[in-house]
């Protein structure tokens, strides 16, 4: 384990920036967002960034390729370029897990080269959550915020930042930082960890369990009568899907620039009524079906394809942001309720 004074974070970022791009959460005018570090930017300790680090690997919108159309012929222009090496600093345990959730989608054969390109150049420095919020429920999905994953895990205890490499990539980076960091004992962060564990137990959603969900529950929950009531007030906006660190649905569209065609990919939301609209019909006719799809996908369908891993990490962004305050915690409590009696 390595240590550096918290006051010297700037030195740390400057050192990493010599060889890598550095992204970190920075406090903006309204809330925190990830941005590329420049001299003078201050790392924000805010728990949840407005938008999750998913943006960095799977941006809101990205160009896939260009076309030049002339008469009857078409030319395809590959616009991809190799990503730089970069470090994301301060990723919370839940968000680290969310990247694993995305990996299982995008890196599964056939791999998405756009995502893979950025993913393979990234070093993730995670940050333990000393002060979780009332909306946090990562424990529900087996995530321990005291032991965040990622290439390098970090803890803050008082004035010191401790760093521990979890992977070879992380070790390589820590080695590079040896000049500005000091050796610390393996148990140096234990006080911080203990505090986190103690605090996690106090959270209002600490008792929320995901046991009722998982692979093989499709038939059980699909026709559950509670979906109607839960989805009743849903506006059909895309807030939950866009702030969600694991939602990965996208659309591919063409934009005619007047001198060529750009094919781009952008986030899309299963909550939108035109998501599945075809000229031949619409398989998800009402908001009930769209609402159900989102939660069934996170809690049942995804685990079925991914060894039981849920596609929710309990970051709590949707709890905080939903305009009508309907969210996955309420869904799990309502739909999974009967299971308590089993």
């Amino acid at each position: 384990m390595r240590a550096i004074s918290y006051a010297k974070l700037d030195t740390l970022f400057a050192k990493i920036a010599e060889t890598h791009g550095v992204y970190l959460p920075v406090e903006g005018k309204k809330g925190t967002d990830y941005k590329r570090w420049e001299q003078g930017d201050v790392y924000s300790t805010a728990l949840n960034s407005n938008r999750s680090p998913k943006d960095i690997f799977f941006p809101q919108s990205e160009n896939l390729m260009d076309f030049k159309v002339e008469g009857k012929s078409i030319e395809i222009v590959d616009t991809r370029s190799e990503s730089e090496d970069f470090v994301i600093f301060g990723v919370r345990a839940c968000d680290v897990k969310s990247i694993e959730v995305l990996d299982r989608v995008f890196l599964k054969e056939p791999a998405d080269s756009y995502y893979e390109n950025r993913r393979s150049h990234a070093v993730i420095m995670s940050m333990a959550c000393t002060k979780p919020a009332e909306t946090c429920f990562c424990k529900t999905f087996g995530i321990d915020p005291a032991e965040p994953m990622g290439d390098i895990a970090c803890w803050v205890d008082g004035e010191v930042l401790y760093m521990n490499a979890n992977t070879e990539k992380g070790e390589a980076l820590l080695e590079k930082l040896e000049g500005i960091t000091e050796e610390a004992s393996a148990d140096a962060a234990d006080t911080a960890k203990a505090l986190i564990t103690e605090r996690m137990a106090k959270l209002p959603l600490a008792a929320l369990k995901a046991d009722a969900f998982g692979a093989g529950k499709t038939q059980k929950y699909f026709d559950h009568p509670a979906w109607a009531e839960l989805s009743e007030a849903c506006l059909g906006c895309g807030t939950c899907t866009y702030v969600c660190p694991t939602c990965q649905c996208y659309d591919i569209k063409d934009f005619n620039t007047g001198h060529g065609v750009k094919r781009f990919r952008c986030w899309d939301s299963c909550m939108y009524s035109d998501f599945t609209q075809m000229s031949a019909g619409q398989p998800r006719l009402t908001q009930l079906e769209r609402f159900r799809q989102r939660f069934m996908h996170k809690l049942v369908y995804y685990p079925e394809n991914n060894d039981g891993m849920f596609s929710c990490v309990g970051c709590g962004r949707c709890l905080a942001k939903c305009p009508i305050k309907m969210n996955i915690a309420k869904v799990m409590k309502t739909i999974g309720k009967e299971n308590d009696n089993d």
């Binding site: 605090r199 959270l203 209002p204 866009y242 702030v243 781009f264 035109d274 305009p323």
Partner: protein, 331 residues
């Protein structure tokens, strides 16, 4: 002013249900935390006693839900309307969006709703309880003890600049009727107008660039009731999708605000729901302020059937060139 509490609402609703006047109730449902309240439908007293809440976080405007709700079944639906909700209610009636006969509207007084965002910004993460007492807003946190904030500072922006405590529509009123207020709601707009062109551009660029195009502002808006939105048209060029560049976010917000210009009652729901905290009401209010400035005061929803400024004209209206100067000032 007499404070209306949840028990009073439940009594009223239960009485109306028992009398057969209505067969369902549109109100606010308890959430996980003190501040997360979901609009919901109730049909029995038991349900209401278990889940209905009414407090400082019941900001959601129920008017728009009436469109969907009145299409279901024959019976009447009971809706509780705060003063600002009644304007939306009238505006929807003006546009024939629902059948008035199927609604029983009960006006309830409102002393302003609190902003969760403001409280979270002030108190930090880990809020376990929020109470409003005579001292102010008392926030209990998980790790930092109890904090007290002034009630007015924690009010939602739209409530701090409340335009009216008077109900413009109801079948029955609970509590006392309030007055139309002399609100300072256009002050912020005037402040932006006073900036230089560069500053205004920088201000809005900074605000709008945060937009993620979740469409929550549109979907919650009681004036946005088109069956098929222009943003749902793939040929519009700005379909319901994540934003691709800074032009699209401007285009979306200008068009969204323009489409409700003259119909927007300034209920402030758009700003309340914006996950990125973009002050969208400043766009809507600009249109309201300009229209008032050019063609005389008009409050959408004040009365059913009134003619909005954009579907009306005068032979001697001002020319657009002059209007821009009148609205924006000499540069």
């Amino acid at each position: 002013m007499q404070k209306i509490n949840r028990e009073a609402l439940i009594e009223k609703a239960a009485a109306l249900l028992d009398a057969g006047t209505v067969d369902r109730v549109l109100a606010w449902k308890r959430g996980e935390f003190d501040y997360d309240v979901t609009p919901g439908l109730f049909t029995t007293r038991e349900q209401m006693e278990a889940e209905l809440v009414f407090g400082d976080f019941c900001g959601a405007n129920m008017s728009k839900y009436l469109i969907k709700e009145t299409l279901k079944g024959e019976g009447k639906v009971l809706v509780f309307l705060k003063p600002c909700d009644t304007y939306s209610f009238n505006q929807l009636l003006t546009e024939h969006r629902f059948d008035r006969e199927k609604v029983y509207a009960v006006g309830i007084p409102c002393e302003g709703m609190l902003s969760v965002t403001a409280i979270k910004a002030a108190a930090g993460d880990g809020i376990s309880k929020i109470d409003v007492t005579e001292e102010g807003v008392v926030v209990e946190t998980l790790f930092d003890g109890t904090k007290v904030f002034g009630h007015d500072e924690m009010l939602a922006e739209r409530c701090r600049n409340c335009k009216s405590k008077r109900h413009v529509a109801y079948d029955e009123l609970m509590g006392e009727e309030g007055e139309v207020l002399d609100s300072a709601r256009f002050d912020e707009v005037a402040k932006i107008e006073a900036m230089s062109s560069e500053e205004r551009f920088a201000f809005w660029q900074g605000e709008l660039s945060r937009c993620i195009r979740c469409n929550a502002c549109r979907d919650v808006c009681p004036a946005c009731t088109c069956e098929k939105c222009v943003f749902g048209n793939p040929d519009s060029g700005i379909e319901n999708k994540a934003i691709t560049d800074s032009f699209e976010e401007k285009m979306f917000h200008i068009i969204r605000a323009f489409h409700v210009a003259g119909r927007c009652t300034d209920c402030g729901e758009c700003s309340r729901v914006c996950p990125q905290q973009i002050p969208l009401h400043l766009l809507n209010r600009k249109f309201i302020k300009d229209a008032n400035n050019l063609w005389g005061d008009y409050q959408a929803g004040e009365e059913v059937g009134s003619r909005a400024p954009l579907v009306d004209f005068d032979f001697d209206d001002m020319e657009p060139g002059e209007a821009v100067i009148k609205n924006g000032g000499e540069q």
